[in-house]
Structures are given as structure tokens and as C-alpha cells.
């Protein structure tokens, strides 16, 4: 049986646009602040769990190992985990099972991100999350995914942009009292968000969390060790994580079922049967404002489509019935990606101990949930934490004796420890820094289309759109694959599907991936293909941006046969469908 596990300390650096500190130095500042907060020294740490973005992100190969000294891993068991944006919460889960399994009594969990090294824009490192063969030729921009999902969510529930923008306002206001925050602003209004630059409609500048540098660390301990270390441990009562399909254009973009699956796993473990009543404070993942609403619904705290109404009614405010992102979240504190997720665990730790200072939610919250999201935009990671009293007890600790606990009890730390580090560098200081080195990883890649997509591309060259039928689940898969990821069996046959479909969702994108403005906006869309159970990413044409609607019937416009090369670009674009297709 899993041992009971608690968080007993936490620390973080300031989140800044560009830190003077190296990644190692940021990791050390946060780690040391976490250890200082519970008066532990490094030799009392048994193992270290670390997370940070993929190596390609900052061009440091074996980045986990590079950061290990700053994370306190010298001479210790060490593991780096990575699940994209979900990493920060997941590294707390990793620390949980390192302790729950009995492998270690005290674990330091560390999350670091230094996004400022990447030029000209960190988004460039994300472009390879798009399918190299089917999507990258379309010139995608990471914002597309968010804009497409946000539009789908808004149109499913007929939401106004104000419903979404109020979350950015709440979080930036919440962050105003946070000593580590990058974008706290007490006087921001919905009009400010609605008036900010449109990047990829419906996403505007202030809907998005900023590029940031920073690090967070928490100390996780077994029950016996936790009782020795603090009189106010905060227990990790439930953990859950879950993945949706890697084919994001085939996914339900309205409701994040994978978050719900992860939440159910965590709630079951924590004995939470009525989340809305039993969870008192939430830190859902908010890299974009709509994501907080999306995730609150995925966390089963609100019915699908009902989180915006709760926000309007003030339920999510710090003094509301279910405070959400009282930290200020990624939108207010900042988004050094992996670190931002672990910041949510740290915030729950401070909130549930009553140590959150100016940010403290009233009413002595006893149980909270933290959640993050990422991978190929498909993972949900969830942690339920509780104070003594509500936390599900695993019975008396087998070895802890009250005498030793009393003898080694340490003073209560009243103020959350924030490292003073995270010194911002100006653009001039950054460009002129002594000893700075510019470097590009000079690697080129050649990606094979593979069996299924190779045939799909051959089909496009012939003016056909091919799907693959799975007789196990009865679906016609587009894009095609040789195996069905649900049934986990070989798919059965090739099927010609229609050249028409409907707009599942769309965006009006005004910027390139490096945030430079485009001369003409692009209209990326997920097209659900008629005669199939799937669809793919493409561009819309022959339509004014303002005339595009979710659900609009569209048809493929092919390049002339002589110009086709067996590429996703053999379809020039999709246009509104004027009349019935032959055979309809």
C-alpha cells in the first residue's frame, strides 16, 4: 500500500521576462528557498525529481543533467520527467510516488524554465509539435491550437469574448500582491484585454501568459518525516494523469475529457466524491484565459459550459465560494512553463497552511486541487492536497514516536519564502552581457511520412482523400493510421472519403510564429471531413474572415494535377461550399 505523503516546504524565484541567473542558478535559488522554508539541509534530501522543457527548447542537450546540480542532485538518485506544460504538476506526482513507494523519505521536486535564451522567439522550438508532414507544410503557429480550441469552446456555449477576458483580469489582479509576479496589475479591466492586440482571433495579447524565466521547488516527505519537519504538513491525497489522442484535430476540443479522467483518478484516491463541495481552492492551469474555464469544467468543479457563469458571479474570485488561481496563475505571475505548474502546487501548500499572506483566501480552506496541461496539448495532470483534518488518514504511522516528533519540531515559517533571485535583465543588458554566447544547434531533419500517411499523400496527389477504416470501433480514421489507438488493433481497409466537410473550428491569425505581423491574416481551421470520423488542419480561402462560422460547410480546392506533389499542400485550401457535390 502506498505510504502517506506530504508537502512540507516550498520556494520560488521571481518570475521575470529575462533572468540574469543561469538555469542552474535559478534552480538553486528556488531549491534553497524550499529547503530553508522547512529548515532542511541538502544532506537530508534522499532523492531529487526535476522537470524542465525539452532539450530543443533551450538548445541544452541532456538539460535535466545540466540542471541537476542546481536542483541538489549531486550524488543522489535523480530523475527528470517531462510531460510538456503538464510537467510542473507531474513532477510533484513523481515526487509523490518516489516517497509513497518507500524509495525515499524526503524528496526535492524542482521545476525550472529559462525561455529567454531562445531566439528569435521560443515558439520556434514548439513548431515540431505539429505533425511534420501533415501540418508543418501549412506554416502553423502554436497560437493556432489555442485559438482553434478557444473558438470551439466559445461557439459550443455561445460565449462572448468578455466571458473569457474576465479570467485574465481576475488573475492579473490576483497577482498584484504576489512578490514573485511578472504581470500583476490591480487596475486592469476587461476593456484592457478586449483592446489588446489581436494575435490569432479570438486570442489577444492579454489572453496569453508571458514568456518567462523562473524556478519553483517543493519538499515532499513521508508521513513520519513530515511530522518531524513541520506541525502543518499539507498532504498529497490524490494524484491523477491522463492522455487524449495524439491526433489533436480528432479530439473533442470543447470538453477536456483527459483532464476529467485525471481528476477522477485523483478524486477517487483522495476520497473526494463531490468535488464542488469538497474542494475549497483550485489552481487550474491558465496559460490562456479560456483554459482556466475549460479546465475547471474538466476538473468536474462546474458543469460543461458553466464555468464562465461562475466567473461572472464572482465564485472564482479570491473571496468567492471557489477561489480559482488565487496565486494569479500563469496569466499574472508568469509562465516559465514547467515552473508555472509546480508554482500551483506551492500555492496550494501556502494557501492550505494559511501562509499565503496578502493572497490568502478567506475561510481556512482545507482541501485544494492543482492541475496542469500539456504534452501535445493532450495531457491532464492533477493533484489533490489537504490539511490535517480533511486529509484521508492512512492510520498511525508505523515508526513515528510522539516524543521524537516533539523534540525535533521546528518553528513555524509564517511568510512564504521567495528567493530574491530572478534578477531581470533589460534588453540592453541581455545583448551586452559579458561572456554571452550565441549558438544555434545546426541540425537538419528528414522526416518520413510512414506507411499510412505516405499512402494518404499519394492519394492527395491523385486528387483523393483517403481514410482508414477500423472495424473494431467502426470509425473511419482521417488522418489515416495503420493501427487504431482506441482498439489497439490493425486497421482494416482504405476508404475514399468526401472532399467536403465542415469547419470544426477556425482562427483568424495575424502573426507569424515569431510574432511578426502578417500582411494578410491567415485562416487556419480544423476541417471535419464528410464520410469520416476525423479531420485535419488546413487553411480556408475564398472567404472573408468575418464570414467564417463554426459548422460552415466547406470543400477542398485542389491544385492543378500537374502541380501536385503528394503533399498536404496539394489541397490549396478549403472554401465555403456553394453547391452539392456530385454523388451527394
Amino acid at each position: 500500500m502506498a505510504r502517506r505523503v506530504a508537502v512540507v516546504g516550498a520556494g520560488m524565484t521571481k518570475f521575470v521576462r529575462r533572468a540574469q541567473e543561469t538555469g542552474k542558478e535559478l534552480a538553486w535559488e528556488a531549491s534553497r528557498a524550499a529547503l530553508d522554508s522547512c529548515e532542511l539541509t541538502l544532506d537530508q534530501v534522499d532523492a531529487v525529481c526535476l522537470t524542465s522543457a525539452p532539450d530543443a527548447f533551450d538548445g541544452v542537450h541532456m538539460k535535466g543533467e545540466y540542471l541537476s546540480d542546481g536542483a541538489g542532485a549531486f550524488g543522489k538518485p535523480f530523475i527528470r520527467t517531462y510531460v510538456g506544460g503538464g510537467s510542473g504538476v507531474f513532477t510533484a506526482i513523481q515526487a509523490w510516488y518516489t516517497v509513497a513507494s518507500g524509495m525515499a523519505d524526503v524528496v526535492l521536486a524542482v521545476a525550472e524554465e529559462k525561455m529567454s535564451s531562445t531566439q528569435p522567439h521560443p515558439q520556434g522550438a514548439f513548431l515540431t509539435i505539429f505533425d511534420n508532414v501533415l501540418e508543418r507544410p501549412l506554416g502553423p503557429n502554436l497560437l493556432w491550437i489555442f485559438a482553434l480550441e478557444m473558438n470551439r469552446y466559445m461557439s459550443a456555449y455561445d460565449l462572448d469574448k468578455r466571458d473569457i477576458a474576465q479570467i485574465a483580469v481576475k488573475n492579473k489582479r490576483n497577482a498584484a500582491g504576489h512578490p514573485a509576479a511578472l504581470l500583476g496589475q490591480s487596475d486592469i479591466t476587461v476593456e484592457d484585454v478586449l483592446g489588446s492586440e489581436t494575435l490569432a482571433w479570438p486570442v489577444q495579447r492579454l489572453d496569453v501568459s508571458p514568456i518567462s524565466d523562473g524556478a519553483v521547488a517543493v519538499v515532499v516527505a513521508s508521513e513520519e518525516a513530515a511530522r518531524r519537519i513541520t506541525d502543518r504538513p499539507v498532504w498529497i491525497d490524490g494524484v491523477g494523469w491522463n492522455l487524449d489522442t495524439t491526433y489533436w484535430t480528432n479530439r473533442d476540443l470543447v470538453f477536456p475529457e483527459y483532464v476529467a479522467n485525471a481528476a477522477r483518478m485523483a478524486y477517487d484516491m483522495a476520497g473526494v466524491t463531490e468535488p464542488r463541495k469538497q474542494i475549497h481552492v483550485a489552481e487550474p492551469y491558465d496559460p490562456f484565459d479560456y483554459k482556466e474555464l475549460h479546465h475547471l469544467e474538466g476538473l468536474l468543479l462546474f458543469e460543461p459550459g458553466k464555468a464562465p457563469e461562475a466567473a461572472r458571479d464572482g465564485v472564482l474570485n479570491r473571496d468567492g465560494d471557489l477561489p480559482s488561481c488565487p496565486s494569479g496563475g500563469l496569466l499574472g505571475v508568469g509562465n516559465p512553463i514547467a515552473a508555472a505548474g509546480l508554482m500551483k502546487i506551492a500555492e496550494l501548500y501556502w494557501q492550505l497552511r494559511g501562509d499565503a499572506g496578502e493572497r490568502q483566501v478567506p475561510g481556512t480552506p482545507e482541501r485544494g486541487v492543482a492541475q496542469a496541461w500539456g504534452d501535445l496539448m493532450q495531457v491532464g495532470t492533477v493533484v489533490v492536497m489537504g490539511r490535517d483534518g480533511v486529509s484521508r488518514s492512512s492510520g498511525p504511522s508505523p515508526t513515528a514516536s510522539p516524543d521524537t516528533a516533539a523534540a525535533t519540531s521546528l518553528p513555524v515559517v509564517q511568510t512564504p519564502p521567495y528567493a530574491t533571485a530572478g534578477h531581470p535583465l533589460s534588453e540592453t543588458e541581455f545583448r551586452g552581457a559579458v561572456g554571452a554566447v550565441d549558438h544555434a544547434v545546426d541540425a537538419r531533419y528528414e522526416w518520413d511520412a510512414g506507411v499510412a500517411v505516405g499512402r494518404f499523400l499519394d492519394g492527395l496527389g491523385e486528387g483523393r482523400i483517403l481514410g482508414r477504416e477500423c472495424r473494431g470501433c467502426g470509425r473511419v480514421l482521417v488522418p489515416p493510421r495503420m493501427f487504431c489507438e482506441r482498439c489497439f488493433r490493425a486497421t482494416d481497409s482504405w476508404v475514399d472519403v468526401r472532399h467536403s466537410g465542415s469547419v470544426e473550428t477556425f482562427s483568424i491569425c495575424h502573426v507569424a510564429w515569431d510574432m511578426t505581423p502578417l500582411d494578410e491574416p491567415e485562416l487556419p481551421a480544423v476541417i471535419s471531413i464528410d464520410g469520416s470520423d476525423g479531420g485535419f488542419l488546413h487553411l480556408l480561402g475564398e472567404v472573408a474572415p468575418d464570414d467564417v462560422r463554426v459548422g460552415m460547410a466547406v470543400e477542398a480546392v485542389w491544385k492543378p494535377e500537374v502541380e501536385r506533389t503528394g503533399s498536404i499542400l496539394d489541397i490549396a485550401y478549403f472554401r465555403p461550399r456553394a453547391h452539392e457535390e456530385p454523388g451527394d
Partner: protein
Amino acid sequence: MLEKLERPDEVRRWNGRIPVSHRYTPGVAGDVFFTALRDRGVLLGSRCDSCDYTYVPARLFCERCFAELSADAEVGPGGRLVSFTISYTGLEGEPLEQAVAIGLVRPDGADAAIVHRIVDTGDEPLEIGQRMEVVVKPEEERTGSIHDIDGFRPAG
């Protein structure tokens, strides 16, 4: 399902790259190290008394005990050769016109070693454990870079 490729050149493939470069700034301890190298031509390390260990280049913290360190322990300019290699090929495996000697040198006063080129090797073969000294560029050529050091050379 698995098909043997008879004509690999006919496989559909796409070429691409990750279109980013990086700018690395040297951090808190690195700033002090490179400034001292540029302005004074010296190697600065960081001493941790409790671990009895001197790092070089300087570091902000001791990775052994997590103590905060100062970048104020001047080490070198002499040192000992810990190990070396002589490289006859370049990154792509091409033969080099002039072989390059690379050494790991522990500067006097330091426990850590630095990797750099070995210059002015002369006719004597290199020997592990031999005395070395750092070769720093003239002041007017120094910019605050690891190249402010030309390398290490055998010392008499």
C-alpha cells in the same frame, strides 16, 4: 503491415529544422568570472570551506552542500595536466591539417579542472601530471570570453 522498402528514395519525406538559435548569458557567478578574466586576466574560482572544495570557473552555489559561494578565489595561473587528448579529425570526421591538443588542467588552488586547448607544446611529449600555465591574451584583445584564454602551455 510492415513493408520492406525496395526504393528508399521513393519514400515520402520532408526536410525541416527547428528554426531557433540561443543566446546564453553567463549568470551571476559567470558575470564575475568573465569580467575578472577580461579586466585582470585572472581565473576566479569559488571556495566552499565546509566541503573543502574550490570550484573553477566560479559558481554561485556549492553543489555538494548548497551553500552560497563568492566568486573570489583566484586560482592558477599555474596548474597540472589531469589528462589530454590529441585530435586529428574535425567535427565531421575530416582530417585536420594541424592536430589539436586538448587538455584538462587543474589550476593551482582549485579542486576542479578546466578544459581548454594546449598550446606551445614544443617537442616534448605531453605527460599527465606535468606542470602547465594559462596563456591569457593581451589585455587589448580580451573581450570577456573563454577565448580570452588562448589555452594552457607546458611550464618549466
